[in-house]
Symmetry: C2
Subunit: 120 residues, 2 copies
């Protein structure tokens, strides 16, 4: 089987980014639960490094095989990538043997948008 | 004693924001530890709501008395505010009876800067 064959995209769990800048209004309880989960996903050093490997990889996409040398076991890498996917920060797609990860721009933009302008 | 008297500012623990956008380069281990601590501080719904209350309060500053109605006990509010202060996201200043909290712009700008442009 060719590695170039594109199989169906694995969808992340439904995450709809939200929320105006933090300076604009106090967050609702519901929105705070949703957005805190995204920040929490980046709140672990190994996850943040894995995420930065994907984000900085050529083409904004990386194979697990490209990014797993972060000093933890392969199952731990898989666990962290799953958490990032569940939080909506990464999307994944299997192509042949490997799974490729890509940053989800809308979620990142939502997080950056909340923080931007939050300091006055 | 007048409430208007300004007592010395309580310094947060030294936090020097860092790091280029996540698209630009893979994070070092050292930087990932530092930045993950900041994201982790916003990774709890109550802390995120408290933070949004400070950020959205008139003048970008809030007294504990203004923001503690988030549905948890006052000691829990204090605990979360301490975590936000330790992560460098808030600074605090005692004035008479009350402690006032303010968003630390440079740290927020560093976090937003890392995320901005991370989706391509």
């Amino acid at each position: 089987m060719s590695n170039a064959k594109v199989l169906p995209v694995l969808q992340p769990e439904a995450v709809v980014p939200c929320c105006p800048p933090l300076t604009a209004a106090s967050l609702s309880e519901e929105d705070s639960v949703r957005m805190a989960a995204m920040f929490k996903a980046l709140g672990d050093p190994v996850r943040l490094r894995l995420f930065s490997r994907v984000a900085s990889h050529e083409g904004g996409e990386a194979c697990v095989c490209d990014i797993q040398d972060v000093g933890v076991s392969q199952p731990t890498v898989s666990h962290h990538l799953k958490k990032l996917r569940e939080a909506g920060l990464l999307t994944s797609e299997r192509r042949g043997t490997w799974v490729y990860y890509r940053v989800e721009p809308s979620v990142l933009a939502a997080m950056a948008g909340m923080l931007a302008g939050a300091g006055r």
